[in-house]
């Protein structure tokens, strides 16, 4: 066991810290609207220049071109967390599509999309789920018929986060209607302004049409060249699972920063003149959460070690999304309790704490428990793939 990252990495950490100290004020506000978008592009460009974003992406694709190094990635995440800064980008493009393209894309696709995506010039959304196909994603019905060199796409996607702000969509379509459900799917890249695409925003339960918005995306005779497929025709399921793997990694975000924010709140918030942190009951709940956060933090180091050794973390890796999403939900639950009757204040009302961060975070965490594979599906995966238990038998056909 050796927990030191070593001098080389500590030097890198200092570099990142210096960058953040110097440029913190350049970070854009959350969101993708108007001015924020311009600021975001500038901010990401600055990060790439300093090698703290797109670090391991080859220069020919617009990255910084460093050797892949997981520890450096971890250090960057840690330092951004510490500085209380978001990476500043919706995850779909940089964290899901880009790794997928680097693994499965053609040379031309990498040239065309990786750089602009990392720079925030192209915003992506993920067109997987359909009204009838959520957990059972492979049953998706959106079809793509061959017509000369093109595909013609018809169908509907739903729960498409940030589709209303996206320039592009990576979308799963059925290209081989007669094949079995897992082998008839292809993975296609489409500009959102292609004729025949219609977007309908869906309000989320928090009333949000803003940055975490949901949408329905309708496709009516949408024409696209066949060359916009990633990977081979009919191999979309495999490619989609690469993306899902990356999605689940991004949903694994460590709860340490959130816990720190809670501790700060508990020092500030007083009831009957006593700070919340002085209540043994609340403090015990906090310490229990901290125990869980620490377990998941060191668990993260263990998973990281497996990745460094190019080994599978096995069942230890499969539990991470399940545990972390619930942990985030439970942390916000304590924050809401600590604020007592004022914990429900919302929508910029007087006396609202922390800009209603905790209500937003609570609802968002609940969304993440569902999105990217529900908690129940995660448990099936843990039991079946992790523990080798048999699948639930198919019901007898009547």
């Amino acid at each position: 066991m050796d927990l030191e990252y070593g001098e080389r990495y500590e030097a890198f950490r200092r570099e990142v810290r210096t960058f953040l100290d110097e440029h913190k004020q350049d970070a854009p506000p959350a969101g993708l609207s108007g001015g924020a978008r311009k600021q975001l592009i500038r901010w990401l460009g600055l990060q790439i220049e300093h090698g703290v974003w797109a670090r391991t992406i080859p220069q020919e694709y617009g990255g910084y071109g460093a050797e892949p190094d997981l520890l450096e990635t971890v250090i960057m995440d840690e330092e951004f967390n510490r500085a209380g800064l978001q990476r500043g980008m919706n995850a779909q493009g940089p964290s899901m599509l880009v790794p997928t393209l680097l693994e499965h894309g053609t040379e031309e696709q990498k040239q065309r999309w990786v750089g602009p995506t990392m720079r925030g010039e192209v915003i992506w959304c993920q067109g997987y789920s359909e009204p009838g196909s959520g957990s059972d994603l492979a049953s998706l019905q959106t079809s793509a018929h061959e017509d000369g060199d093109d595909f013609v796409i018809n169908g509907q996607k739903i729960w498409t986060s940030t589709a209303d702000k996206a320039d592009m969509i990576f979308v799963l379509v059925r290209t081989e209607p007669d094949a079995k459900k897992h082998v008839g799917i292809s993975y296609v890249l489409l500009p959102m302004n292609t004729p025949g695409i219609e977007i309908q925003p869906l309000r989320t339960m928090s009333g949000d049409l803003g940055d975490n918005s949901f949408n329905q995306v309708f496709f009516t005779d949408v024409r696209t060249p066949q060359t916009n497929i990633v990977g081979k025709r009919g191999e979309g399921w495999k490619i989609a699972n690469t993306t899902l793997k990356h999605e689940r990694n991004t949903l694994n975000s460590n709860a340490e920063g959130t816990l720190l924010r809670l501790i700060k709140l508990m020092k500030q918030e007083t009831v009957n003149g006593v700070p919340a942190i002085a209540s043994p009951v609340y403090r015990d709940r906090l310490m229990r959460l901290q125990g869980r956060v620490l377990a998941m933090k060191y668990h993260g180091m263990r998973i990281l070690t497996s990745s460094l050794k190019r080994e599978s973390a096995g069942v230890a890796g499969l539990i991470v999304k399940l545990q972390n999403c619930q942990l985030h939900f439970d942390i916000s639950a304590l924050a809401i309790d600590v604020m007592g009757e004022l914990g429900v204040l919302y929508d910029h009302t007087k006396y609202e704490r922390d800009e209603a961060y905790w209500q937003t975070h609570s609802i968002f965490s609940l969304g993440l428990i569902i999105g990217g594979g529900t908690a129940q599906i995660q448990k099936n995966i843990i039991a079946e793939r992790g523990l080798g238990l048999p699948r639930e038998p198919k019901p007898a056909t009547r």
């Binding site: 989320t204 339960m205 009757e341």
Partner: protein, 362 residues
């Protein structure tokens, strides 16, 4: 031994549920939310016509003179429908507070409540939780200060407020020197506001009101627990219905053991809570000595299971449960708001320990 609801009570529940389903369906709740209206008078008046707003008010004052258990059942039906209406305040807490304080003035107010003509807001948060340096003082003739998270006050005709721990006052909503600021919460179905008072002349002051305050808190906590329980019932009913309809992997999701177990666990929590609520309400009516303890435990327990029920019910629905369109969130947020409205679970349990002499310092 007969522990359960009477035929009359079953009928009462059915009547109120049917009435609300027809008069204030969730589509209407949504319209009110969109209009930021938490005090639709038509609903309140209709409840008066139905005869439930005076459920606890003596018959000679125009009410039905029934018990808290009956009122709790109505509250449960209101929670089940997520109805924005001042029933908890005007029909439970205020009439209970006035019982030991009765004057001809309070009798008149009660008569007007029973008919649906007026309603009351309530500002009592500072009895159990002081934040933002709130508190009302009385200089012998007028009231000044701040009250946080007043319930149903912004659109009421009168407001009952606490001054310290053993004084109550009634003020008019339109009295000079009173400023009422709506406080927006996640829950669009319950009216909350802050009151700022500057030399406000009260309509009435009640000294030595400790007994009334204690009773209004007990009854309010039981009534609120009932409301939350009703909201839980609604979320579970919708989850079970959805689990029986929605198909994935060529089968209804309710046929997956994972989904079955989620639903089963929800009712396993709900049903004992229902029994607990009945007993607590029964205590208030017949074993008053036990009432403060039962009220604290009942609200604390129901608030706890409700948080879980709200989260799991949303999960049973998958992505659609996370949308505004699905309606489920109206109950989710009503439950969330109720959790701390009359004391959060931790403080209620601490009170429960104190009542039993168990809060022994180390």
């Amino acid at each position: 031994m007969d522990f359960g609801l009477s035929e009359d009570q079953e009928l009462l529940v059915e009547t109120v549920r049917n009435f609300l389903a027809e008069k204030v369906p969730i589509t209407r709740v949504r319209e009110l939310r969109d209009a930021a209206n938490t005090g639709d008078r038509a609903i309140w008046q209709a409840l008066g016509e139905l005869g439930v707003s005076g459920i606890l008010i003596p018959e000679q004052d125009g009410g039905s003179g029934l018990n808290l258990l009956d009122a709790a059942l109505v509250s449960q039906a209101i929670g089940h429908a997520a109805t924005p209406t001042p029933f908890l305040t005007s029909s439970i807490m205020v009439p209970i507070a006035f019982r030991p304080l009765a004057t001809s003035q309070t009798d008149t107010w009660l008569r007007r409540i029973a008919s649906g003509e007026i309603c009351f807001g309530l500002a009592i948060t500072e009895i159990f939780s002081v934040r933002e340096e709130a508190g009302i003082t009385f200089d012998g003739s007028t009231l000044s200060g701040k009250a946080m998270m007043a319930i149903d006050a912004s659109q009421a005709d009168f407001i009952l407020l606490a001054i310290g721990q053993d004084r109550l006052a009634v003020i008019r909503r339109d009295v000079s020197g009173l400023e009422v600021n709506r406080l927006v919460t996640i829950d669009a179905t319950r009216d909350t506001s802050e009151l700022l008072l500057e030399n406000v002349e009260p309509e009435a002051i009640f000294e030595n009101a400790g007994e009334a305050i204690s009773a209004l808190l007990d009854a309010g906590r039981i009534g609120l627990a009932a409301d939350t329980l009703g909201a839980c019932e609604a979320m579970i009913e919708q989850s079970v219905a959805y689990a029986g309809e929605r198909k994935q992997f060529d089968r209804v999701i309710g046929s997956f053991q994972a989904v079955k177990h989620m639903c089963a666990e929800l009712v396993a929590e709900l049903e004992p809570a229902r029994s607990l609520l009945w007993y607590a309400a029964h205590c208030f009516d017949t074993v008053p000595k036990e009432s403060p303890l039962m009220a604290c435990h009942t609200l604390a327990h129901i608030s706890e299971i409700a948080r879980e029920i709200a989260s799991v019910s949303t999960q049973v629905h998958g992505g659609i449960g996370w949308t505004d369109e699905q309606n489920l969130h109206f109950w989710f947020k009503r439950i969330g708001n109720a959790r701390h409205l009359l004391g959060g679970p931790e403080s209620l349990r601490n009170r429960a320990a104190e009542i039993q002499g168990l809060a022994i310092a180390s």
